[in-house]
């Protein structure tokens, strides 16, 4: 595919120029011209009033790539830390099970390190079989042995889809595997579906800091590889009587150029508090003053919750950094998240989007926070929150 300007239709109106996030459209000789920085995001297509910007097929689209039919099966690369399989791997088994069933193929989990009990758990969570490698090289995380062994296995077994968690470990070694196998990798997916017509994997992911979503395809290469963010997929069903096969892997010839000397765990107390709280009441610049947080504390304590904040509120000095939620603060996932006077900038959203219930209170009905909210109240925090405190006290009172 290539994006081209039909020079006969182009009027040189420049509407497309600003629509391009990559500065890839220039005006040359009074016509639009797409330069080498085009990323094929297709943003410009619908902007052109003349319909002069088009997708055109290229030689490449018509040539057949590799023989895709040799590749079968869905793989989940499970991740263990300190010998325990992490949650995102179980979530991926849920998603992987669905994809494998849809493709009429098997679901394989791959586990490097950890005990046989952990391997068996992967079967209970949905895998048909587990490829399990045990070796001291997996006691700490180094990219080399992970890359080497997974690449070998993929070359040998030829799976169609390979997934892992978008964690510090997954995001570090998975790209190397993709590069070694010369295949595509989609980062940080939030949704995975099979295209009914072509059988390709439709990989949906945020880009531009979450301002847009993109569907990514890997049409001519296999395996189709993707990392998936923690807490966006649902775990499958746990079934202890599920049977499956555990295949022990040969771990000969694995070595590492990097060496982990020490692993240091850091868990500040407030991190634990915020991240374990069932309810978080968070405040933003809309509070207008430090005293606003007193009110939020009252609401939080009524609900046995903790207080969170946007960066703007932290920057104002109204509350300490340890309360900050978002990209450069904490990622939280409470049952209820109440956002008070927070606009909903993507950097904030990434830290709280997977909360079970999001309640937004904001005086601007167009605030982006309402896009992720389950419940929206349009109004002034200083009218709404006291009212909410009063009502909750009433409800609590009537129960006692």
């Amino acid at each position: 595919m290539r994006i081209k300007v039909d020079r006969d239709l182009c009027t040189g109106c420049e509407a497309c120029v600003d629509s391009c996030p990559y500065d890839a459209i220039e005006i040359k000789d009074e016509k639009a011209f797409i330069n080498e920085y085009c990323q094929l995001c297709r943003n410009c297509l619908s902007v052109c009033p003349e319909g002069a910007i088009k997708e055109v097929e290229t030689e490449e689209d018509r040539t057949e790539g590799m023989d895709l039919s040799q590749f079968r099966g869905v793989w989940v690369m499970a991740e263990q830390r300190d010998g325990k399989v992490v949650d995102v791997s179980l979530e991926l088994l849920g998603a992987g099970r669905r994809l494998a069933d849809e493709r009429g193929s098997e679901l394989t989990a791959v586990l490097f390190g950890a005990s046989e009990d952990e391997a068996a758990k992967l079967i209970h969570w949905g895998a048909d079989r587990v490829l399990h490698a045990q070796s001291p090289v997996f006691d700490t995380f180094n990219d080399d042995p992970y890359v080497e062994l997974l690449s070998r296995l993929i070359t040998q077994y030829k799976p169609e889809i390979v997934l892992t968690g978008a964690t510090a470990i997954g995001r570090s070694f998975f790209p190397r595997v993709a590069a070694r196998l010369r295949t595509g990798l989609t980062a940080d997916c939030t949704s995975l579906e099979i295209d009914k017509e072509t059988g390709h994997l439709l990989q949906i992911r945020p880009a531009f800091g979450g301002n847009i979503m993109a569907t990514i395809l890997c049409p001519k290469h296999r395996p189709q590889m993707a990392t998936v963010r923690p807490r966006v997929m649902k775990k499958g069903e746990y079934n202890e009587s599920r049977k499956g096969e555990i295949i022990k892997l040969d771990v000969e010839g694995l070595s590492s150029r990097t060496k982990v000397l020490q692993s240091i765990k850091e868990e500040s107390e407030t991190k634990v508090n915020l991240q374990e709280a069932d309810v978080i009441v968070a405040g933003g610049r809309g509070l207008g003053k430090a005293e606003g947080f007193k009110m939020l504390e009252e609401l939080a304590s009524l609900l046995d919750g903790a207080v969170g904040a946007s960066r703007a509120a932290v920057d104002e000095g109204w509350i300490s950094y340890s309360h900050q939620v978002g990209q450069t603060g904490k990622t939280v996932c409470p049952k209820i998240y109440i956002a008070c006077g927070i606009s909903g900038a993507v950097q904030h959203l990434v830290g709280m989007q997977s909360s079970d219930i999001i309640i937004a209170i904001n005086k601007n009905p167009d605030a982006p926070i309402f896009n992720v909210a389950n419940y929206g109240i349009v109004g002034d925090v200083y009218e709404v929150v006291p009212e909410l405190i009063k009502k909750i006290k009433e409800v609590k009172g009537s129960c006692q």
Partner: protein, 261 residues
């Protein structure tokens, strides 16, 4: 020692918005900046230079001709030289083609250490660093939050992990991707700005880096963006209306039904 810093020119995504009517990005007046993580990569390289002395720092970017601005900014911060990879053949590169292309240029330049940002704030994949290390056949350490020690032989760093950090050691040459915690990027000096104005930015095309054409641009990219769209409001969303008291009452009713209260 030679350090290559990879920098990307990106739109300032904090200011990018979607036009809800046309479902397209609005980038009216959105400035182009150096990817913020890459400023930390530049700073890390400059600090190593200050420490070890005999070091040449090269900033490298692949992009359109106007990406030259980013390179001049890097020079104004203090890097020694800057290279721009620009060629229509690079159009439509995904991370695999991008990292292949950059790795070819880095081979040409020569290197002991390559430093990248953790991720670019537009593509957001964090894949180019590790993929490039694979093409260069050198080890990499991702998410570096501190460099504890470095010599011409090897390096010891702190690597950010979910529950803390690891202390990791590697021989040179090695590739690092760095996170914000690693340092505070310096501002360009006046002298630096003067130098940047006059500096020559070398431009390279695919023939200058002996790249195989079928590994470049669209042809060399296994992934394709099928479409883009605005994130939707959740379908189950409820917006209340009425006075604050009425809205709160409706909310409390809902929460009671969900047994949350």
């Amino acid at each position: 020692m030679r350090i290559v810093v990879c920098i990307k020119q990106v739109p300032d995504t904090a200011e990018v918005r979607i036009n809800p009517e046309t479902n397209t990005l609005v980038r009216d007046g959105v400035p182009s900046i150096i990817n913020p993580y890459d400023l930390h990569a530049i700073e890390a390289a400059l600090q190593i230079k200050e420490k070890l002395g005999d070091v040449t720092v090269t900033a490298l970017t692949m992009g359109p001709p106007q990406a030259e601005d980013a390179l001049r900014e890097a020079i104004s911060m203090g890097v020694d030289e800057a290279l721009l990879l620009t060629d229509r053949a690079f159009a439509g590169s995904d991370t695999l083609a991008t990292s292949y292309t950059l790795s070819r240029a880095i081979q040409k330049i020569g290197f002991d250490l390559v430093i990248c940002g953790k991720q670019a704030i537009d593509g957001d994949t964090a894949q180019v660093g590790p993929e490039m290390a694979e093409f260069l056949n050198i080890p990499h350490i991702a998410y570096v939050k501190a460099i504890e020690e470095i010599s011409t032989q090897g390096i010891r760093v702190q690597r950010l992990m979910e529950e803390g950090y690891d202390i990791v050691e590697a021989p040179l040459p090695v590739l690092l991707t760095v996170v914000r915690e690693i340092n505070e990027p310096r501002l360009p000096s006046l002298k630096g700005k003067m130098r940047a104005k006059k500096a020559e930015i070398k431009k390279l095309t695919h023939t200058d880096i002996d790249a195989e054409e079928d590994k470049l641009g669209l042809t060399g990219s296994p992934t394709a963006v099928k479409n883009i769209f605005a994130p939707e409001a959740r379908k189950d969303r409820k917006m209340f209306s009425g006075s604050p008291a009425e809205q709160v009452a409706a909310l409390v009713e809902e929460l009671k039904n969900l047994k949350c209260l």
